[in-house]
């Protein structure tokens, strides 16, 4: 669920604005205000690079703007937006040929892994990079499941709607992903 602190416009209000030609840009603005942070967090976790996440987030909102008429209201608006974002991310990852970890060298990974084993205080700044390195070992779909659960803290039921996969399959996929990352950290 999106983490919202102040009073946010309801999804119905945003939709009604976006479905009116005269107010659709205002509706889009409200939509971005409400969902930009969780979607950015998701995309950033998926692609790691801020620039790539920025491109995907913009595409995501432009597609939402173009296709809002196709949103039938059967699911929640944020579920629909997550689905767009998830598709954008998967498409991007499939197009990305390089699969190697790109932000940390092996020495840095090794030092964090050593700290984990020794139960020493962890350097918070590097944990993200370490996780990103570990996630590079996951298949795209499994990585998506891990990001939705670990980063976005999404219930399995919502994940099922976003990814179109059964809850049971998602649980299995998440468990596998966690085990693979753990193996990566303990190697």
């Amino acid at each position: 669920m999106p983490r919202t602190s102040t009073a946010q416009p309801t999804d119905e209000h945003i939709l009604s604005l976006m479905r009116d030609v005269r107010s659709m840009e205002r509706g889009l603005k409200l939509l971005m205000d409400k969902y930009q942070e969780p979607l950015y967090r998701h995309l950033r976790a998926m692609v790691h690079s801020h620039d790539d996440a920025n491109d995907l987030l913009q595409n995501c909102f432009i597609k939402a703007y173009q296709c809002i008429g196709q949103f039938e209201g059967k699911s929640k608006l944020y579920t629909w937006l997550y689905r767009i974002a998830a598709n954008e991310a998967i498409t991007f990852l499939r197009g990305q040929k390089r699969r190697a970890a790109d932000s940390m060298d092996d020495n840095a990974n090794a030092s964090i892994c050593q700290a984990l084993k020794a139960d020493e205080p962890l350097d918070a700044a590097n944990i993200e990079a370490l996780l990103q390195s570990a996630m590079q070992t996951l298949p795209d779909k499994q990585k998506q499941v891990f990001v939705l659960r670990y980063y976005d803290e999404m219930p399995y039921e919502e994940m099922s709607k976003v990814l179109g996969t059964s809850v049971g399959a998602l649980k299995a996929s998440y468990h596998h992903a966690v085990k693979k990352i753990e193996n990566f950290l303990e190697r």
């Binding site: 030609v21 840009e25 913009q58 432009i62 008429g69 670990y150 803290e153 468990h175 990352i181 753990e182």
Partner: protein, 172 residues
């Protein structure tokens, strides 16, 4: 958040190491002014692409007309259509009410047809009028009796033969 707690407990069961990471893990944040810039960029792209949203309600005629109206296309089109309609109506009105040049009925008939008509309807004509219209040397009897000339001659002969001396005296 219950959901977050539940997810953390699940993670702790699966992998205490990763759960330990999650406690101190801070996902990367966006740069300070990023979202404002991103919004401006998205709005600019939407406007520059002149993206037509694929709304279902666009298939509603009223909404479509509404959109066209505001797009500035429909007004000149409607004005042209109204003008064309007025011109067509004017042409039709003129054609409908225009009096066709009158043509005398007699002018459309051949001479034989006219004579036949006069013969058949001789009783309806004024004798003096007929006499004034026909050539002076033309025998008028067949017209006044409604018979053709040979039959009129035969009739005249029969009448003359049937007349006795007394009748002739009366006549002359």
């Amino acid at each position: 958040m219950d959901n977050a707690k539940e997810i953390y407990e699940e993670l702790e069961r699966l992998s205490p190491v990763i759960a330990r990471l999650k406690v101190v893990h801070e996902p990367p944040a966006a740069p300070k002014t990023y979202f404002a810039d991103m919004q401006a960029e998205v709005l600019r792209k939407c406007q520059s692409q002149q993206t037509v949203p694929r709304f279902k309600f666009l298939f509603n005629c009223a909404e479509r007309l509404h959109l066209w109206w505001y797009s500035g296309i429909v007004r000149p089109v409607l004005a042209l259509a109204a003008l064309a309609l007025l011109v067509m109506a004017g042409l039709w009105w003129r054609q409908y009410w225009e009096v066709a040049p009158s043509m005398p009925l007699a002018a459309q008939l051949s001479e034989e047809e006219v004579l036949y008509y006069i013969e058949v309807n001789a009783d309806n004509f004024d004798t003096q009028l007929l006499l004034s219209l026909l050539p002076a040397n033309e025998s008028m009897l067949h017209l006044t009796l409604g018979l053709d000339e040979p039959r009129t001659q035969d009739l005249m002969d029969a009448i003359l033969k049937s007349l006795d001396t007394e009748n002739l005296k009366e006549l002359y």
